[in-house]
């Protein structure tokens, strides 16, 4: 059984078809890299998979379960987590509260209007553990507004990982990071347990090629090349479309 199967996925915005019959089959534990020039439809593909956008046609199956019509929130409960290219966090809260919110999203406690959230030790302990893993435990109580871009990127990853996802979608996790921060995030991603399937969009080929088992090249919303790193890099269409040769 594949972890994630996408079949004939199509999406148009008005007259512009941004995703055109995309097929994708990602095996459990696989590290899949999605590449393509700007406007190729990579982030739209992620938005379709997570349910933030409704597809016009096609099918999405997560571990054998058809989730094509499942709402976005339901997909999170089924084990789909993501990070965003443009960091999307809760700016008025602390780092810790951001991660607690991620934990709370899958907990029945989120409906409770009576208990004190700060006293839910099982949540705060788990959130601090997750933050320790991304090296932010000592600044967990710092307001998010007082953090650097790289720290926020790590918070994003901690929020996704604390939900124990089966499939993790990473949208350009290295975007905007310094060389040192890139190294740190690369190290974090390499340390994600092998049972978590990862699909990653990334432009930075230095770090991305090293990470991926297989690569899918999108162009104008279509999959034009798919294969191992060597196969994709060697394919003349990759050079033509993406590498500009």
């Amino acid at each position: 059984m594949t972890a994630l199967t996408v079949t004939g996925l199509t999406k148009s915005f008005g007259g512009l078809r941004v995703t055109n019959g995309v097929d994708l089959a990602v095996e459990p534990g696989e590290r899949r890299l999605i590449i393509g020039p700007n406007g190729a439809g990579k982030t739209t593909l992620f938005n379709l998979i997570t349910g933030e956008l409704a597809s016009d046609a096609g099918k999405i199956v997560l571990f054998g379960q058809d989730i094509t019509r499942a709402p976005c929130r339901r997909r999170a409960h089924l084990g789909l987590a993501r990070t965003y290219q443009i960091i999307t966090l809760f700016p008025r809260d602390t780092i810790l509260r951001n991660v607690v919110l991620a934990l709370l999203g899958l907990s029945g406690l989120r409906w409770n209007p009576v208990v004190d959230l700060a006293r839910q030790r099982h949540l705060t302990v788990r959130a601090r553990e997750a933050l320790a893993l991304v090296g932010l435990d000592r600044v967990a109580d710092r307001p998010l507004t007082e953090t650097s871009y790289g720290e926020r990127r790590r918070v994003e990853i901690a929020m996704a990982m604390v939900q124990n996802p089966k499939v993790l979608l990473l949208d350009e996790p290295f975007a905007g990071l310094s060389i040192d921060e890139r190294r740190d995030v690369r190290q974090l991603l390499a340390a994600i347990p092998p049972d978590v399937t990862i699909v990653m969009i990334e432009h930075n080929m230095d770090v991305a090629l090293d990470f991926a088992d297989r690569i899918t090249l999108l162009h104008f919303g279509e999959v034009i090349v798919e294969g191992t790193r060597a196969e994709v890099v060697a394919d003349p269409r990759t050079r033509e479309v993406y590498l500009g040769e």
Binding site: R73, A76, Y84, R92, G105, P113, L133, G135, Q163, A191
Partner: protein, 369 residues
């Protein structure tokens, strides 16, 4: 005195002051003004759930307030006892809130505001024009205030104490709500609705339930208003009433516990006290609002806290208080050298994300050289 005991002392002092209002105010008119501050504070706290915590600015809440008052007044006129009329009023307001929510939550921002404005005006139109039911502009009178547990609320002091009990219950409910997981979820939908959905939250349902919670306290405030005035008219549901309570919330400080209370105090005092001495009291109220927005754009309560903090640092050379930082934590520490990222050597997977301790991934056969 310990820093942590200061807020506790302030709470005790505030409670003592509130409990002795009829003693030191004396005049029953001013005791009645105090009751109105408290009941409008409950109304403002109700709106604050939506406007503050949910980021959904409503201009139709006076309609909900009026539904409660009219339902109770009409039921009392029809001969129902006070308890039944009050329960009916709460139920009617909750049902109306649910209808409002279903219609208004199709939008956010200006769209939400316009839909609630239209719904509020619809209720005002019904109250004003359905004369057979509501007696139109002449309003509805009730014969007497209720007497819960045999305690008459006819006098100003007894009504004040009854209102104070309800106000404190509302404040306690809001405090619990503010600290609760549901409160955090609601604030999350205000700040990043899309992200909340991706994290597994049902954003629409959270907002819907918040609307009902707000509607419940609107109904309580509407009941208090009816009992206080023993009269209700369409003016209660007018746009001006909705705007007034919104101004209470904004001027006091949205998404704060005491902001709406302070805002209610300002508006009610201007309307019922200052207006006795200053003919153009509306102008004074406008100047106060402009001053608050200019110098404390976050509202009177959070603005005062900010200025007090600045004064402490400036004139008393006291360090900044960081309430969110735990004891023993090092707020100034940078993230770099801590956690598994410390050092340059990569960590094994099991030491970082708690995996199975082995990397089962096969090396890719097509790895580039």
């Amino acid at each position: 005195m310990k820093a942590s005991s200061t807020p506790r002392a302030a709470v005790v002092a505030a409670l003592l002051a509130l409990m002795t209002v009829p003693l030191w105010v004396g005049n029953s008119y001013y005791v009645d003004v105090a009751s109105q501050i408290l009941l409008f504070a409950v109304f403002a706290l109700a709106l604050n759930v939506l406007a503050g915590y949910a980021g959904l600015v409503s201009l139709g809440h006076a309609g909900l307030f009026a539904i409660s008052g009219y339902t109770a007044a009409l039921m009392l006129q029809a001969g129902f006892p006070h308890a039944t009329a009050a329960a009916g009023a709460v139920l009617a307001t909750l049902v109306t809130s649910a209808v409002f929510a279903v219609l208004a939550l199709r939008a956010t921002g200006i769209g939400f505001l316009m839909i609630t404005l239209a719904l509020g005006q619809t209720l005002w139109g019904i109250a004003y024009r359905w004369v057979n039911l509501t007696n139109g502009d002449n309003g509805v009178n009730i014969a007497a205030r209720p007497a819960p547990f045999g305690i008459s609320l006819a006098g100003a002091p007894s009504f004040y104490y009854a209102t104070l009990v309800v106000f404190l219950l509302a404040l306690a409910a809001m405090a619990a709500f503010d600290r609760s997981p549901f409160g955090a979820s609601l604030r999350g939908t205000r700040d990043q609705a899309r992200r909340m959905t991706a994290l597994g939250y049902n954003v629409w349902l959270i907002r819907f339930l918040a609307f009902l919670f707000s509607g419940f306290w609107c109904s309580v405030a509407g009941l208090l208003y009816l009992y206080n005035k023993q009269f209700i008219s369409p003016q209660v549901s007018a746009l001006q009433a909705s705007a007034e309570v919104l101004l209470m919330v904004i001027s006091g400080g949205t998404a704060t516990l005491l902001g709406p209370v302070a805002g209610a105090a300002i508006v009610v005092i201007m309307k019922y006290v200052v207006s006795a001495y200053v003919v153009r009291w509306n102008l004074v109220l406008g100047v106060i609002f402009v001053a608050i927005i200019s110098f404390m754009p976050e509202g009177l309560v959070p603005g005062s806290v900010r200025i007090w903090g600045f004064a402490r640092r400036r004139f008393f050379a006291l360090p900044r208080r960081r309430g969110t930082v735990r004891e023993g934590a090092q707020p100034q520490a940078r993230c770099g050298p801590t956690g598994p990222l410390a050092g340059s050597a990569p960590q094994p997977p099991d030491q970082v994300w708690g995996g199975e301790g082995k990397d089962s991934r096969k090396p890719s056969p097509g790895a580039p050289p």
